[in-house]
Symmetry: C2
Subunit: 374 residues, 2 copies
């Protein structure tokens, strides 16, 4: 019998240490069928929780906002309606930059955003999102889940009455849209670029200016030359903004955001009031979307990069080596300034840097080598 032979041969392949050899027939006799006993449900199951989740994204923002809507639906399904969450886009209940406070104060129970939004009040928060030339998505997850990153994050947010969860990642972003060609570090001098956060600080230190522009006004400012350049996210979201119609060059890589982790955060008291089963569901859902958003970004980005190339005259360009190395050395200073902001930031920086050094060494002989040949 061919099938039997295959099984015997394959049985001794990788992973098959065991020597037991019950046949399928004896197995069937031994195992019986699914047991369906009556179960006594615990009293806590009669309580229903109605939560609100504020986000820092426009309502139904592609990938990210859509995912949180979906997460809420799935929590309702898993809990048989015992945990019902209404999701709000930025400005529908509170402005984006009040989401953190709204959850801290307990006005709402949950929020979704990205930790570097809170850098103004908590410098170390950036390490739980992204720093220029920092870890990519896969490395961030390893640090957060197995390198002590999430523990530090929980310790930090506990001071604000919050419970944080890694929940989403954009993957590597693009370097941005430019109407000025960048051929050397000299070309960064005087560059007016819309680039917030630490990336903006790096550009400023390199001689450019980091200009603040509201999302809805970037297109017009770029078109009219008020700014020379802007970063946004990656090809999918950037295409929707239409930047390819008003910019000459689309630069890569996104050195300033190599894989920002997004965050779900709960009011700690509200979270702790949930029974164990609902807490587990919230945690579980955060894991799912931490990965799934990245998968969606990854799957859409090349498709939209092609649309950009096909529907416009824009040139896809790589930053020159010299420019990247210059930005990298400035980024080191900028990140170290964050680390020096307070003792906790120093502690997070040390954990982050140590882990990054180690995992980068591994990445060099694994991901970086193999992907050259795929």
């Amino acid at each position: 019998m061919k099938e039997k032979k295959i099984q015997r041969r394959e049985f001794i392949r990788k992973g098959s240490f065991a020597a037991g050899a019950a046949t399928s027939a004896s197995l069937l006799a031994a195992c019986g069928h699914t047991s369906q006993k009556k179960v006594e449900l615990p009293a806590y199951m009669s309580k229903k929780f109605e939560w609100k989740c504020v986000t820092v994204w426009p309502p139904n923002f592609p990938v990210v906002g859509e995912s949180i809507n979906q997460l809420a639906k799935e929590l309702e399904t898993m809990s048989s309606g015992r945990l019902k969450i209404k999701v709000y886009g930025a400005g529908e209940l509170v402005p984006a930059f009040e989401a953190f406070d709204a959850v801290t104060l307990g006005a709402v129970q949950m929020g979704h955003g990205v930790a570097y939004y809170w850098a103004g009040k908590i410098p170390s928060a950036v390490f739980f999102a992204a720093v220029p030339f920092g870890m990519n998505a896969q490395q961030m997850n390893a640090w957060l889940y197995y390198g002590g990153g999430w523990d530090l994050w929980r310790e930090l947010y506990a001071k604000f009455g919050l419970e944080p969860f890694p929940c989403g990642n954009t993957g590597v972003q693009m370097g941005g849209w430019f109407n000025k060609e960048i051929n050397s570090v000299e070309d960064l001098k005087g560059l007016k670029m819309r680039i917030p956060g630490l990336g903006g600080k790096v550009i400023s230190k390199a001689g450019g200016s980091s200009i603040t522009v509201a999302g809805g006004e970037i297109y017009t400012n770029l078109e009219r030359g008020v700014i020379d350049a802007t970063e946004w996210i990656g090809p999918y979201h950037d295409y929707l903004m239409g930047f390819h119609r008003v910019a000459k060059y689309y630069y890569y890589p996104g050195w300033h955001e190599p894989g920002p982790t997004l965050e779900l955060f709960c009011n700690k008291k509200a979270y702790e009031e949930l029974p164990d089963d609902l807490q587990e569901m919230v945690r579980m859902a955060s894991y799912k979307y931490n990965m799934l958003m990245l998968s969606e970004f990854e799957s859409k980005n090349n498709e939209y990069l092609n649309k950009i190339v096909n529907e416009s005259e824009v040139q896809i360009k790589r930053f020159p080596e010299e420019v990247i190395h210059n930005l990298k050395s400035i980024a080191k200073e900028v990140v170290e300034e964050v680390a020096n902001a307070d003792p906790f930031a120093q502690k997070v920086y040390e954990s982050y840097s140590k882990f990054k050094k180690d995992i980068t060494a591994w990445s060099e002989i694994s991901e970086q080598t193999v992907t050259q040949y795929l």
Copy 2:
């Protein structure tokens, strides 16, 4: 007020399109507190399911077996004991290579393994795990979740009465342990290597021999020169096997397995008998561990690579360019043979190849470029 100023400034940064501006005070007044209504529980909640999960791994196998134990615990917590799963290592109930049939027959309700184990009876299954020079973990997830991969997998497994879920990934593996130096394609001739599956076929076509050795005997065979080389997984698991004590060289990259997806599979009928909430929990848990196992592998591999280097004389070596390019062109033939096995395999191959081509183009300007500078 400094904080207010920061909020205003940051409010108009990325993601903040909305113009609404409720203050925290007005917000608190408007929102009230957590609602805790009594809830009527649906009748299906009084049913209890007791399942068995067989795996292709030794009991409590590091990362992988441990994760499935944990997954079972969390499903029990989330379901308040309504879904209880007992996990078995390979050989505890059925041998590794009978796991698929045991779940198909309904003798047990769930299994955990890796789809290329079933290549003997289902050629196309390899595409849902790993093929030589195939996609890495991040790319596989994008294909499975957003590129139609999982749909094809479900279509295939439905023929066997199974419902599959991506659930785990080892990340890039190592190329293997060698006692013969590989300096050119000539050195592959006559090489006796323990390397199963498609990787083994490639080595055979390159002039070597793919030798079948049970897991527990690899160490001794390598020590005694019965084989010249073996691949296993990556530094963490390889260290536990002790190969660094009996091999001279540890080669990278793991061209034969650039990121194998592991699988959870349920008996379709048993799965469909679960009420919606429990089905959602099983799905949700599969997403979590699909990512989390990869994170654990990533976090441990560099640590154990260092232990290998520090505790032995083994040399870490990269396969020469010429050798990799040779293996790659042979791998193309081998994978195309799989695609030609049957019309369904052809369909899967087309979907896989198209997606791989696209996502590799994106990866070149995102992950591959940025990681050079991290």
